[in-house]
Amino acid sequence: MGKLTIGCFASLVGSMSLDFAVRLAGTALDKGHKVDLWVSGNGTMLSIKGQRAFKDYSALEKPLKELMEKGLNVTACEACAEARGYHKENTLDGFKRHSMDWYLASSFDADRVLHIGGE
């Protein structure tokens, strides 16, 4: 079993890259791998508490919480979040916030890194 670090920089609802990242993270966890998920840029939207689940929009708060219970380690870029007005008090419980070096540190002992940067 290995460690997969996923970095996702795309937006929550605008594209479905975060849906992909969360689904892939869950699948890797279920297969016994360790998974770190880093969100940066618009991806930090994923960290916000109280997202309303409408059927017209991608809604990831619930699946994300389930994955965190299964051991998903998930962290948002603190500067990217603050620049958008996402503060600590609006952050999902258990969702960490760190500076960008966290992502690089996670990659240090990762067997694989999937960096979802495009757009």
Binding site: R23, T27, H33, V113
Partner: protein
């Protein structure tokens, strides 16, 4: 280098794939990238399918768009999220998301 390249869009705005030439190349079509596997324009398949590579398309993203196994080009293997995890860990050593 054994490189797994993820293609998530149909109209690519980068030409990176044209210049990558690793020892082993896998192209994993996800999101709107799956249209490369299914869509012919004026009868021609996507030029992205011309590389010397192994091709994969994610079934979840095909079906989301109203597509399925029968629509996929012969040289593309239809795979699941679980297959992607295995490909990343077992078949390739680096990834690229274009």
């Amino acid at each position: 280098m054994k490189l797994a390249v993820f293609v998530s869009d149909y109209r690519l705005t980068v030409d990176t794939l044209d210049r990558l030439n690793p020892e082993k190349l896998g192209i994993i079509l996800v999101q709107n990238g799956v249209y490369h596997a299914t869509t012919k324009e004026n009868g021609k398949p996507s030029s992205l399918l011309n590389k010397s590579a192994s091709y994969y398309a994610l079934i979840d993203d095909l079906e989301t768009r109203g597509l399925g196994n029968a629509d996929v080009a012969d040289n593309v293997k239809v795979i699941s999220y679980s297959d992607i995890v295995d490909l990343i860990f077992n078949e390739y050593d680096k990834t690229a998301w274009l």
